[in-house]
Assembly symmetry: C2
Homo-oligomer: 255 residues x 2
């Protein structure tokens, strides 16, 4: 399958995506991912995919790619073909694309570096998984050039926002912190699961607006996303971090 | 021609584009556009297209689309196919795509509206024409919903940056102003031509960091880009503007 060259997802980043974990052929958190995709459509004024077409596209690539015990299913929802320039056509005909790739659970220690590239706190796109993900690509690249594996992104107000492809949590004096969603943060499904679990354990996560200095005082840092679940960081800008306490308990609801 | 679905331009906005005016089959400012595309490649750490392949791709679509006295040639340079996720493959094989569309000179009065969506002053992408152009799409859409034709975008620091698809200039007390490039502004070719012309006329343009209130005091506002040249704005957020003095003189070097 290929894509027409006038697709607005390609030309302008006009569209959204979701990445789902597929375990033994079954997508995890299907309903939650679809709900988030629909919220993204509202934010971007795009028509929403139907449940049936999304399920059919997912089923097709999962069946084609049978054999991966853990796989990443990507659903891409572009604004479809459009005329020249920024203006959308009066009738949008979005395109749904699906792909599957192996997604073994990462095991090596995770090294983080704070990137120079900032998250745009002045755009609704910072709260959604859009096809305009180049800032995250550049942040990841910065981290790798610095000898790390993943970037920590501050937003344009200088507040800790997220990792390039994950939500971020940190621990200080026995408390757990994560950036508030309005820092320009994706409403992560693993983030929500960890927060619910922490609350049930009596260790409610504090959603905060914090500068990089907050992270600098952290004893432990961990990332979450749908694919890897919860992953502790070994270092941040070269500083060694502790293994987060309660780690296994916090990850108990993650696939 | 179609595109493989694993192209990073499509999936992540990982790439660049240029839009050139083509008059009677001849691209205008070819060398300048290619130089800017190469600067974008450096900023994004992408390999650069060769002059020969770019010329061949342009020639092909210009020949195929013969008959438009004024046309828009779009060159799209994607990071090419890549693996799953943000990490680029160790060897990039970028793709060059070209397309042509009629681009008649717009004649109706231009109504501007200041958009809520901000330009990311914390990312190098704001200085380049990248495939991650969704913020501009959303800004344009906001302007249209407000009954205008084009959006004025402030950056995340609240400074006037540009229009969604053009550079912006304004006039106050006989002086001409435009945002400095480090406000998160594309280094526009028509912008540069107008600035050079203004300097030759003894009316040097002042590159400034100015908030929206600066624009609010403007007597006249005009936009520039490669396709439309210089275009005066009739209104800004509903306020009527004057026709800029020296208009024809400033536009003298534009195609």
């Amino acid at each position: 399958m290929t894509l027409p060259l006038d697709d607005r997802g390609l030309l302008l980043g006009d569209g959204l995506f979701e990445t789902l974990l597929v375990v033994d052929g079954a997508p995890v958190w299907w309903g939650e991912h679809m709900a988030r995709l629909r919220r993204g459509c509202v934010a971007l004024s795009l028509p929403e995919p139907t449940e049936d077409e999304a399920k059919a596209a997912a089923r097709q690539v999962i069946d084609d790619g049978a054999g991966h015990p853990r796989a990443a299913l990507r659903l891409t929802w572009t604004a479809g073909s459009g005329g020249r320039g920024l203006d959308r056509p009066s009738m949008l005909s979005p395109r749904l694309l699906a792909s599957l790739a192996p997604a073994p659970r990462p095991t090596k220690p995770l090294r983080l570096a704070i990137a120079q590239v900032r998250r745009n706190a002045g755009s609704p796109t910072s709260r959604h998984k859009t096809l305009a993900y180049l800032d995250n690509v550049l942040a990841r690249r910065e981290a790798q050039v610095a000898g790390a594996d993943e970037a920590v992104m501050l937003n344009t107000a200088g507040e800790v926002a997220c990792a390039a492809a994950a939500n971020i949590f940190w621990m200080e004096d026995g408390e757990v912190f994560t950036p508030a969603l309005d820092c320009g943060v994706l409403d992560g499904l693993a983030r929500a699961a960890v927060m619910a679990r922490a609350a049930a354990l009596g260790a409610a996560v504090r959603e905060v607006r914090a500068g990089a200095e907050g992270l600098g005082r952290a004893e432990a840092v961990f990332l979450t996303n749908s694919l890897m679940g919860l992953r502790p960081a070994a270092t941040l800008d070269g500083r060694h971090l502790k293994k987060p306490p309660l780690l296994d308990a916090l990850a108990a609801d993650l696939p």
